[in-house]
């Protein structure tokens, strides 16, 4: 009979956190930030089919870095949670705060239960409000804590460096093109400080646009529209981008 080694709880938790953090760091980073008309999600994603961003409900979007099968599971869980809640109560009763809470509880329980391996994911849940003041962005690290973010947030491998870059340059009321450019600049900085080019085909971009007439505010930005936003000079594009939005739908 073997005697189990004694591992102090501190050490056990630190090991689990280390494990989760390493898993998340392997994934590419992504950025979620506010702009004048809503919230934009930007990330580097070579795949067209496996999304990092998706719609949860009318005004709520989801972003995740880390292990695909784990965050995909959480995403579908979130969609089910939101749809069930909206069906039993009302569409207005589905909030990002409620969803973030459920995610935090789920991640937290998994993280601290010895029987399960911790999830190697970091999530962002964002809700677009009627006005920029009503926007909410929650970051959910692997251990089940919730961080209420303002302005901009980055998660994934290089998150700290990207966050500090964004914090210095992000300001309220940026146009979509400006916000997008800033996000791409931030993402293209490597850990060692060098910069590399991220082509438009490798970018995944989505917005929660409060000016959309439909009740579902989530929209992916792809193809020509993305190209044009990336090339455009921030100030000129405002009218153009909204015009194009209506054209797409």
């Amino acid at each position: 009979m073997s005697t189990p080694f004694y591992v102090s709880p501190q050490q056990a938790m630190a090991d689990r956190a280390e494990y989760a953090r390493k898993g998340i760091a392997r994934g590419r980073s992504l950025v979620v930030m506010q702009y004048a008309d809503g919230i934009v999600f930007v990330g580097e994603n070579p795949s067209r089919a496996l999304h990092k961003f998706s719609e949860i409900y009318d005004r709520i979007g989801f972003a995740a870095a880390g292990k695909y099968n784990e965050y995909e599971n959480l995403r579908i869980g979130g969609v089910r949670y939101a749809d069930l809640r909206g069906y039993t109560y009302d569409r207005n009763d589905v909030t990002a705060r409620g969803l973030a809470n459920v995610y935090a509880q789920t991640l937290g329980t998994i993280f601290s239960s010895a029987g399960e391996k911790p999830y190697e994911v970091e999530l962002v849940v964002a809700e677009v409000g009627e006005t920029p003041e009503g926007d909410q962005i929650y970051r959910l690290p692997h251990d089940g804590s919730i961080v209420d973010e303002h302005g901009s947030v980055a998660v994934g491998g290089n998150a700290e460096q990207i966050s500090s870059y964004l914090d210095q340059r992000h300001r309220d009321g940026m146009s979509l093109a400006e916000a997008l450019k800033l996000a791409v600049q931030a993402l293209s900085r490597d850990t060692n400080g060098s910069e590399r080019e991220i082509p438009a085909e490798r970018l995944e971009v989505a917005v929660l646009d409060r000016t959309r007439p439909q009740k579902r505010k989530f929209k992916r930005i792809v193809g020509r529209q993305l190209q044009r936003l990336l090339q455009a000079d921030g100030a000129v594009t405002e009218a153009e981008s909204s015009e194009e939005g209506s054209e797409e739908k």
Binding site: N73, R80, L84, Y87, Q105, K249
Partner: protein
């Protein structure tokens, strides 16, 4: 395992089980009590009095399809509601109009809308139009027990098929039987009269404006001969709901647009109460 997974506040296992993209299947697994078809009805003596919605009509035209409904709900010989809405968008490219027990129908539509939206969000792509029509079929079938007690729901489903590039109409019976209709279709108590009207006035080369007028004509004819169908109510400004689905998606005609069509139809009937005449040969 926790005896009650809800107590921790984390998502219950059913939420994180991969597999189904169907919200109804998820409900069946996790909250079967919320599914309309799972309810047990006590046996009742005679018919149960509940508001019933009446006539829905649909017409295809090159480039899309029009779905419209009158505004009356009846309960026996009483008008239960004058301004009830019976035509709903199912998603961006389809709509459903309901005849039958209003309460159950509205719940069914709500679940149907959610079923399509849920699939779209989980899978990242829309169901095909056939797929949507089949989902609705399943829902009607699950209501058969209630239908046999007089609480039937018989919808009309119309949508724009993006693959084929045309508008299509599907009609149903109480058992969930589904059939595709070509050109035009009607359901509900006034459907006999509406169908007669549509039959004589329908052409294959209708424009969108023609099609929206045609459905209002058909609803007028249904209201003319069926007491449970409401015609345009000029005094109260209650007009039929008219929706158009094209490549650009679902659109409900505004109050002004539908009132203009309805008023012109009423105006014409002042002179010619039976409406436009089809050529004899």
């Amino acid at each position: 395992m926790e005896p009650n997974p809800r107590s921790t506040g984390r998502l219950p296992a059913a939420f994180l089980t991969p597999g189904s993209s169907s919200f109804m299947e998820f409900l069946a697994e996790h909250r079967p009590d919320l599914l309309p078809g799972r309810r047990q009805l006590p046996p009742t003596q005679g018919a149960l009095e509940a508001p019933h919605g009446t006539t829905i009509v649909a017409v295809t035209f090159p480039g899309g399809v029009v779905l419209a409904g009158d505004r009356r709900a009846t309960m026996g010989n009483v008008i239960a509601q004058r301004d009830v809405e019976k035509v709903f968008p199912a998603d961006e490219y389809s709509a459903v109009g309901i005849a039958g027990t209003a309460g159950i129908a509205v719940e069914m539509v709500k679940l149907f809308q959610l079923e399509l939206e849920h699939f779209e969000k989980v899978e990242g792509t829309q169901l095909s139009l056939e797929g949507k029509a089949n989902r609705l079929s399943t829902m009607i079938r699950s209501n058969l027990g209630m239908a046999m007690q007089g609480l039937a729901v018989v919808p009309l489903f119309a949508g724009y098929d993006l693959d084929r590039g045309q508008g299509r109409i599907f009609s149903y019976d109480v058992t969930g039987g589904r059939s595709e209709e070509y050109g035009y279709a009607a359901t509900g108590s006034g459907s006999l009269f509406a169908r007669g009207s549509l039959k004589k006035l329908y052409r294959e080369d209708l424009t969108e404006a023609d099609a929206t007028t045609l459905v209002v004509q058909a609803l007028y004819d249904a209201a003319d001969d069926d007491s449970a169908t409401g015609g345009p109510d000029v005094a109260r400004r209650i007009y039929p709901i008219v929706t158009v689905i094209t490549e650009d998606g679902f659109r409900r005609l505004t109050e002004d647009e539908s009132s203009e069509i309805a008023r012109s139809v009423v105006q014409q009937r002042m002179e010619q109460p039976d409406g436009p005449r089809a050529a004899l040969r």
